[in-house]
């Protein structure tokens, strides 16, 4: 039988790895991602950035949705909540409301974020919830075996678009900028050092930070978002890019054929916790706001 040999998950179940292979921020479970999947560098970059920032595993909560990307928390040694498809941000908001001291990182795929979960993004952003949202964008639904996602390019052929995708893809960076995220950056799985820097910076940002990470699905996308294609496309943001200038960030974000890596935009604004503290203070002082 001439069945092509395809990349595979390393194991059908999560496998406890031996204690001697244990890193501080890696869980004892071996990732179930396909060999070569861009997501491996996310796990690596994340653990390194946590180490760099000196956060303790028990003070970190990783919240994810459903998808290959959302398997992330299982592979990290921190508190984790693998929630529902698309509900990453409201759950993360709840965690943070309960305890300001926690470092809360929300993680999901492009489908999780922009299809089923799209309604929550503008609200987490405008409220400036002090969490970091990392979207692993492979332009496809990996876990359900390769259908188009809202970021799939025009012409992409998948099981649900056998006659080629005709739906205009979304532009996540523009959307996040329009939704008033106070930190917006982009990284690429094939550039792990920069990725690590970006993660560390995103986590360190006080307020809602959005990190968009381009990543190939090596199993289901052989044509569009491959390492080869992405490697040729990505570029650095211009050296003189002003990350305080919203319109400059927007303009860079429109250039989807040459995705730029780096920090597009940054601003300081009261976080949701700041607002809540203000309310509590006014309430205790008996100041109704009339």
């Amino acid at each position: 039988m001439n069945e092509p040999l395809k990349p595979v998950y390393l194991d059908e179940k999560l496998v406890e790895i031996r204690a001697d292979g244990h890193q501080d921020y890696r869980s004892k479970a071996l990732p179930t991602w396909c060999p070569g999947c861009g997501y491996f560098s996310m796990a690596e970059g994340f653990t390194q950035s946590l180490k760099r920032l000196g956060r303790e595993p028990e003070d970190v909560v990783v919240v994810s949705g459903i998808g290959c990307a959302s398997r992330f928390p299982f592979f990290i040694n921190a508190y984790g909540f693998h929630t529902l498809h698309g509900r990453t941000l409201p759950v993360a908001t709840g965690v943070k409301q309960a305890n300001d001291a926690l470092t809360v990182v929300a993680v999901g795929g492009d489908g999780d974020a922009f299809a089923i979960g799209g309604g929550h993004i503008p609200h987490a952003a405008r409220r400036n919830v002090d969490i970091t949202y990392m979207v692993f964008d492979n332009g496809i639904y990996g876990l359900t075996k390769g259908q188009t996602s809202p970021t799939s390019v025009l012409g992409f052929t998948t099981p649900t678009t056998p006659y080629a995708n005709g739906d205009e893809p979304l532009n996540p960076l523009m959307m996040l900028l329009a939704a008033k995220a106070s930190w917006v950056g982009q990284a690429y799985a094939g550039n792990p050092h920069h990725l690590t820097d970006m993660m560390a910076e995103a986590i360190a940002h006080r307020g809602f930070s959005y990190l968009h990470i381009l990543s190939p699905c090596v199993t289901f996308d052989k044509t569009t978002r491959t390492y080869k294609n992405l490697g040729m496309m990505v570029r650095d943001l211009p050296a003189d890019h002003d990350r305080r200038n919203l319109m400059a960030a927007m303009a860079e974000a429109t250039k989807v054929d040459r995705p730029a890596l780096g920090v597009f935009y940054e601003e300081e604004r009261p976080t949701l916790a700041d607002v809540m503290d203000g309310i509590a203070e006014r309430a205790r002082k008996g100041i109704a706001a009339e």
């Binding site: 179940k13 999560l14 869980s27 004892k28 479970a29 303790e56 595993p57 028990e58 003070d59 970190v60 909560v61 990783v62 919240v63 459903i66 928390p73 299982f74 040694n77 921190a78 508190y79 984790g80 909540f81 693998h82 929630t83 529902l84 509900r87 941000l89 409201p90 759950v91 993360a92 908001t93 709840g94 965690v95 943070k96 409301q97 309960a98 305890n99 001291a101 926690l102 309604g119 929550h120 503008p122 609200h123 949701l272 809540m276 309310i279 509590a280 006014r282 309430a283 205790r284 109704a288």
Partner: protein, 596 residues
Amino acid sequence: MTGTDVQFAICGSAGDGTIAAGDILKRTMAAMGYKVIAFDIYPAEIRGFGKCISRVRVSIEQAYSLKRRSDVFLSLNDAHAIPHVGEVRDFGAVVYDDAPIATIPEGAHISAHIRPAQLPYGASFRQISDKVTGNARARNLVALGYLAGLYGMPRDAFHKTIGRKFATKAASVTQVNVRAFDAGYDAGASVFKLDDVVMAPPPVGADGSRAQMMTGNGATVRGLLDADIDCFFGYPITPATSIMERLATDLPKRGGRMLQTEDEISAIAATIGAGYAGARAATATSGPGLALMTEMMGLGVIAEVPSVTIVSQRGGPSTGLPTKTEQSDLNLAVYGGSGDAQRIVLAPTNVEGCYRCAGIAFELAEKFQTPVIVLIDLYLSNRYETVIPPEVKPFAPKAIPDAAGRSSGPFKRFAFTDDGLSPRAIPGQNGGVHTITGLEHNELGRPADQADNHQRMSRKRHDKLLAATRHPGLTVAKRFGRTGKVDVGILGWGSTFGEILEAMYAAEREGISCSAMKVVMLSPLPVHLIEPFFDDCRIVLVPELNHEGQLAHLVSGTLGRPVVRLDRVTGAPMEVDTILAEIRRLALGPAAGNAA
């Protein structure tokens, strides 16, 4: 019911101050030490001139619902009031303004609609108001004073309430209103009373000083606060909105946080997120919102995260009848989840129960590590009852899990134990690091789909809840009336149980052998209490405000026994007479009943 038991109905538009008059009346009565039940009806989505009715039942013994027939009826606006005059009983009173503002077509004045057996009292409320305050706006207080005078109620008590009501306004406002009240009082006191309504003073020693008039929603908020809620997440929807609105004011005062989310999915998601992180967190919604929360509830079940959801039902399905009451979300509350998603569902039957269930919901959610739904309805949300709040908060404080000392080996968040309850740890705690998931998982919380694991975890999640039916301090089901074998049993839930009790006691007075049981915990069902009740009853009647007989079906399905359904979806509370008629129909007759 011995002693005073008088129901007042005040009808007019919002612009007439109808609700305000009812409010002063009920608060005064409660402060005097009477038991009070009150329910206001406002028109859908209307402000200003729509029809309002405020009904206030004042009694010495505990009453359970409004009476079908009022004893005293006050019209502040004949156009609205005329269709309702009929609700006054024979020898009851109808009070109205006898000086209409303009000439009116024949039949448009209320006096033409009073039945011969009703006693009419006309007085010139507008005119009196005009005279003593300079305009007609205080006519509602004049009319209220008239009632107080007519039935010899103490002036002072009213003055106090009026003073309290306008405490934040200029002193002159209180004065004007008191003046109007007194003028009305004098007019009422001088009338020759022809009706047979009697307002005996409350028994000596009856102390109303700690009594409060609370709605179901108000009591719910109080319960949440007394249980030290940390976080609330909500999205506006009738009739639950006022829960969020009150918490918006009260929660921050205690350092708690209220967040209006972008929708109901976010509200329950954030509630579960906060619950996971160790907070006492709650949300509140109505049927359409609960429908949206269905998927997230399932996550709470399998990931074993505590959460509390208050659901105030309104008419359904879908957007339905947003301003009418109904009990038709039982199915959704109990069965609304993919997979075997059992959780705890409580349905209090009165205002005091709202307080108790809201607070205990946190205890249950934490102890059993599961979502808890408190299911009320518009009638209960908005109805006022006298409640004496406990002096000491009656709820167990938050049991903060402690992962310390567990640092040897990975934390088994879902360890199998004898009672099915596993150790919990919350983010920030050393030694408790773990990941939870909506996937089936093993004791560590790692995804695991082996047959025996799923079988065991399913059983764990189901069986651990059974102990909830014996949770201390919570009445999960209770029988009222005659004990032992009876002819007709009436099983009920939620707001309708008040009418059931009234009907049951009335039937008993007629010599029918009967007894009633309320079911407060709808899931898991307290079979150990319900089954013996069925054993004792020849026939069981289940009156409820939905069309499919949802409690009837639930209980029949669990017990495998038949019941007689009594379903109504009129948007209004069930009438005591309807239940009574059905009890009579089912009874073998008074003799047979007594012989049992």
